[in-house]
Structures are given as structure tokens and as C-alpha cells.
């Protein structure tokens, strides 16, 4: 018996190659921030620094963020240094007979300018080396409270319980800097990133890292 209707064979669609979606999702925060890398060594907020390492850093640990006090917080000591530099010329103009001897006048001036230089250098060192570091595993606080004394404390990202930002006052609002308080379940209960620029950005990155750490735990990829 002849067929009344014969259905055509459906052309088989070629199989699509596997998408790269899953691979893109696996990109870490460290990789994402590579595009925003900061190269200025004197920046207050350094994202994914390339040539910076710290004392207790592990081999595979990547620095995500390095923060130091906002540049504007240096205003006070810079102003004092400028006053120290200008002061002798003002004093000698007002009291020209204060040092009759040229020798002592020169000696005093040299000593004074050297003191001004020491003061500025010491303050610069304190600003430059007192940093907070966020790696893909930990939060590290490096402090040099005074000469020849250092204090390094750290906590794992998964120990972070709460993050808050405290900003207030005219200058802080104007220059967008403030304190980030990190509450932890570790021995040191609180980490404070003082006077750091763009605190919201720092909190955003920290939250991303916390999520990433939780994801790693769920997938059993904990280091």
C-alpha cells in the first residue's frame, strides 16, 4: 500500500561547540582586577601591584589591594616642613642682629635645614610603609608605630564577620577617604584601615573576596 504522507527526515543540526561561559565564571577576583592594575608606587590605593611583596607572603598568594593613608593626610607635616624651611629667612629679616657671627649663623642654618629634612623624611617613611594589604587569602596590617618597631597582624578572609566604613567631616567627604573597620572571628577582633581613599571600593573588593572564598569552600578548593 502506498504511503499517503511521508515525513521528511529532519536535518540533524550540527552540535554546538561547548561554550566558554563556565570558564569565564571561574575567573577569580585577582584576575578581574588585573585590568585596573595601579603602577604608581606612591599611590594610596594600589590595585594588584606587580612588583610589591611583603615579608610573610606565601608563594602562591596574590596581593589584591594595598592601601595607605590618603595623600591629603600628609598635608600637616608638609606644611610644617615648608614653615621650617621659610622660618630662618623670616627670623633673619626681622632680627638681622640675632647672630653677629657669620660662622654660627651658617652653622645654625645648616643644622636647622638638616632637621627639617629629617622631620620630612621620617614622616614620609611612616606614611609610605604603614600599609594594609588584602591578598586573595588574607588581610594583613603592617604598622611601624615608632622607630625600629614593627607590628604585623593578619587574618584569613573567611574569618571576616563584618565590614563597615566610617566617614565623616568636611575634609574626608571632600577627598573621599575614611576608615574601614573589619570585624573578625580571629584573635585580633578588629582591623582598621585608617584614612584610606575610596573606602567603598575597598569594601566592594573585600565582599567579592569573601564570596569567592565561600565558593571555594563549597567546591572544596580551599588552600
Amino acid at each position: 500500500m502506498p504511503d499517503i504522507y511521508v515525513a521528511k527526515d529532519k536535518e540533524k543540526k550540527p552540535e554546538k561547540p561547548p561554550t566558554k561561559l563556565k570558564a569565564a565564571k571561574a575567573e577569580t577576583v585577582a584576575d578581574e582586577l588585573k585590568a585596573q592594575r595601579t603602577t604608581n608606587p606612591l599611590a594610596s590605593l594600589v590595585i594588584r601591584p606587580k612588583k610589591i611583596t611583603f615579608d610573610t607572603q606565601e608563594r602562591k598568594e596574590k596581593i589584591i589591594l594595598l592601601t595607605r593613608r590618603h595623600l591629603i593626610t600628609n598635608f600637616r607635616w608638609v606644611l610644617i616642613t615648608v614653615v621650617m624651611i621659610l622660618l630662618p629667612s623670616i627670623v633673619f629679616r626681622l632680627f638681622p642682629e640675632i647672630f653677629s657671627s657669620f660662622r654660627f649663623r651658617t652653622l645654625t642654618l645648616l643644622t636647622w635645614y638638616l632637621l627639617a629634612f629629617s622631620y620630612a623624611f621620617q614622616n614620609f617613611l611612616m606614611w609610605f610603609f604603614n600599609v594594609n594589604i588584602v591578598t586573595d587569602e588574607r588581610v594583613v596590617d603592617i604598622d611601624f608605630p615608632n622607630i625600629l618597631y614593627r607590628d604585623i597582624s593578619s587574618t584569613k578572609i573567611d574569618m571576616i564577620q563584618d565590614i563597615s566604613v566610617k566617614m565623616g567631616g568636611f575634609v574626608r567627604s571632600l577627598f573621599n577617604y575614611g576608615n574601614v573597620h573589619i570585624q573578625t572571628a580571629a584573635e585580633q577582633r578588629e582591623f582598621i584601615f585608617e584614612d584610606i581613599p575610596q573606602p567603598e571600593e575597598v569594601i566592594k573588593i573585600l565582599n567579592q573576596l569573601i564570596l569567592e572564598e565561600e565558593q571555594e569552600k563549597l567546591e572544596g578548593r580551599v588552600r
Binding site: 611583596t53 654660627f104 629629617s118
Partner: protein, 81 residues
């Protein structure tokens, strides 16, 4: 003239000069300042060991220049005054 007589003569002719006192004070202060300069070198070493970066070398150079200036000033006080 015996040494004792020489001492007596020296003391009799001794005249107090303010510049000596000032020089002594400067020297005394400079010794502390020199110690401070050395400590700064050590401090920079410790700091750059803790946080290594591309800016370490210029900072170390400035620290050594700082110590050099302190030594230079100390020499000026010793020799020229």
C-alpha cells in the same frame, strides 16, 4: 717651669668664651643626631624588608644621603669652628 706652675698660669689666664660652650653643645647634640641617622638606615632596611617594592632603592639612597649630611655637618663643626 713645672707642670703644676704651667697649670696655674693657664688657669690664671683662662678667659671664658661663649663660642666654646656653643661648639660643645652642638657637638653633643650632633652625636645624638648621628645615632639617629644610623637608626634611620636600620629602620629603612627593616621597612623595605617587610614591604619590598620598586621604590626601595631611592628610599635607601635618601637614607644614606641623610646620614652623609649628618656626618658632613659634624665634620664642619669639628674642623671649621
Amino acid at each position: 717651669m713645672t707642670p703644676f706652675e704651667r697649670l696655674v698660669e693657664y688657669l690664671a689666664n683662662f678667659s671664658f668664651r661663649l663660642s666654646w660652650v656653643l661648639k660643645g653643645l652642638f657637638l653633643f647634640g650632633m652625636l645624638f643626631y648621628l645615632a639617629f641617622g644610623v637608626i634611620v638606615i636600620r629602620q629603612v632596611g627593616l621597612m623595605s624588608k617587610t614591604l619590598e617594592g620598586s621604590f626601595d632603592l631611592p628610599i635607601k639612597i635618601v637614607a644614606w644621603a641623610h646620614l652623609g649630611m649628618i656626618i658632613g655637618l659634624l665634620l664642619i663643626i669639628l674642623l671649621a669652628f
